[in-house]
Symmetry: C2
Subunit: 374 residues, 2 copies
């Protein structure tokens, strides 16, 4: 038998959820109702206005004899841990990804550390998050440096819609300290190439990194979005505590909404077109001024699938950021479908404000590298 | 050998992308540059402002002899199809999920249909999408009906953050027509229970269903969001063509923004609290009136993790929808973490407007079932 078996899914309350009963039978364990779990479920439902626990959910208080329930803070199905001694561990987790990850991180990893620590060689990762540069371009620029990576440090390119993550992995070191030294050396080696495109965020989320910076500098922000229609506001407010720096946003989808919500002059839209540097800047400054924020973001573009022209094809997006007297704007021509274009435009606009906050030379309103990744 | 081998990932332009070379070597095929692919890549990069194709990307024009490249409309890595005759098919797809799905749907499924059609028994699914009811409650209400399901039609409960999908599956029928008849019979059987919680959308996306309804009735909408901070606007504008009915939205995160962007009276917020029926209704009507829309949505709540009180715990959300002279509001107490609470609140608010549009009895402003799923 394996030292560790993990099963996901099938722990729910419905008749097609068969995992718990199947595994318990296979291991020869009877199921018994756990009083604490039952009380927790009852409290959960009654607290939400139900007269009583739905009968189906009662099955979620069943635990096989000798097994340990693992708390699920996000749902009704607990994880279940069987410790079979020298026969290893069997872990059952719910299939809902957020619940599975939360229980695995909170309850399973500590058990694995404890159980297998002596047998696990340290494998340590470090992530470098970039945005606004194509995977291939980044790879070509890094290529001449890669032979200088410390031995036993490898690099992986992980492209996502919002940017490329470089994951450095140290394996086979005698100690964690040695592995961390090698990772720091590798990071320093790559830094000159990645610096202009890099952002720092524990979770890999640029909205979090930008929020940290806004928070640390006491800067408030407002956003006006046309083609991204609320996505930047949504991402900024995904972050707990964002009310400290996010004052508000407008999804100014129609030209009339641009005028009414962000004070963009109708004549300007008429003269320059809705998708233009001037309108992006007017959106950023308009919403900033209207809400009395320190900084503003404005986005206007063509997310498709319709609406493109030869001059302004689908994927054309102008975005602007303003802070004090400075306003910067740049144009992107983003590839992909509607969802990808919107995700990339939102990311690029946040990256522009992050750079304006951190490193923009006073008075220079042309971005050092306005070219967008294909 | 299997009739079909599908490999995903490792087709990118960087040195850790080894799939193509490995599989080609295993099958004894040489790699050769495909002139059409190369021209497409060059056009793609030059069209986006690059002087030339980055050297790394050139490798993505390589195709093993005798293999067929499968077009990737969303990225640079094509899929690759090896037809080994009686030894089966080998398909390589990029690992980026959207690219993988697009190529699989567009290029691989037709090949599989063609190749294996005679050997595939029809398996037909039908999805019933619900929102606002807990999986367990739905299961308990459906339980007495399930023995009446046609034989060879099975049901699965698929819980997602935004709602529960019921998936009916017909297997083993002699023909597709017979399978479809059985599915229609099953659907009719379940309809009385699911009707109040059901929405119709091909993709399972309530924003799409709501958009279809708005579009069909020529109704325009505006939204004002506090705790969901732009998520409803983002979801509505995810849908291509949403500019026909979505006029604009405001993310009125601060009380000041509620006043400035949606005209909510500061005294009302003071008197009732920012999280209240009155403020939700004022947000919906305020943004609707400001943008001259037919319908409005207003949301205000506590997404957490901070900000909860004994009276209004984290997860408390008031949401309102208005249309003409009618305004309806309801309160949710949503479980889960910040992201789940926001997702559920956005979904519930869209569902409220959808019901107001479709079935609300004139003059009755209390929802038939305001209770929220735990």
């Amino acid at each position: 038998m394996s030292d560790l078996v993990v099963v996901t899914g099938g722990l729910g309350p419905t008749r097609d959820d068969l995992t718990l009963a199947t595994v318990a039978r296979h291991l020869g364990r009877e199921l018994a109702e756990d009083a604490d779990l039952l009380a927790g479920l009852q409290k959960r439902f009654v607290g939400r206005g139900y007269a009583e626990l739905p009968p189906s959910n009662r099955a979620q208080a069943l635990v096989p004899e000798g097994a340990v329930p693992l708390e699920n803070p996000l749902g009704t199905a607990p994880g279940i841990l069987f410790d079979l001694g020298s026969d290893g561990l069997v872990v059952l987790l719910p299939g809902v990804p957020r619940e599975m990850r939360t229980i695995f991180t909170g309850s399973v990893i500590p058990v694995l550390r404890d159980r297998f620590s002596g047998r696990l060689a340290p494998v340590i990762h470090r992530s470098i998050h970039t945005t606004g540069i194509a995977e291939s371009v980044l790879a070509d620029r890094l290529e001449p440096l890669l032979h200088g990576l410390p031995e036993a440090v490898s690099i992986a390119f992980l492209p996502e819609v919002e940017g490329v993550e470089l994951r450095l992995t140290a394996r086979g070191f005698a100690s964690s300290e040695r592995a961390l030294e090698a990772l720091a050396e590798a990071e320093a080696l790559l830094q000159p190439v990645v610096a202009p495109h890099r952002y720092q965020a524990l979770s890999g989320d640029l909205a979090e990194a930008l929020g940290d910076r806004l928070s640390a500098t006491g800067t408030t922000v407002a956003v006006a979005e046309s083609c991204t229609g609320g996505l930047v506001a949504k991402r900024l407010t995904d972050i707990p505590g964002s009310s400290r720096y996010f004052l508000g946003g407008v999804a100014a989808y129609s030209n009339e909404a641009k005028r009414l919500l962000a004070g963009v002059d109708g004549a300007l839209i008429e003269a320059e077109g809705a998708v233009s540097r001037e309108v992006a800047e007017a959106l950023a400054r308009g919403v900033r001024d209207r809400l009395g924020a320190d900084a503003g973001i404005g986005i206007t573009g063509i997310a498709g699938p319709g609406g493109g022209t030869a001059d302004k094809p689908v994927g054309t997006v102008w975005f602007a950021a303003c802070l004090g007297s400075r306003t910067v704007a740049t144009k992107g021509l983003f590839p992909g479908d509607r969802e990808m274009i919107r995700a990339r435009a939102a990311q690029a606009a946040m990256a522009l404000l992050a750079r304006l906050l951190e490193e923009w030379p006073d008075g220079n309103t042309d971005p050092p590298d306005g070219r967008q990744a294909p």
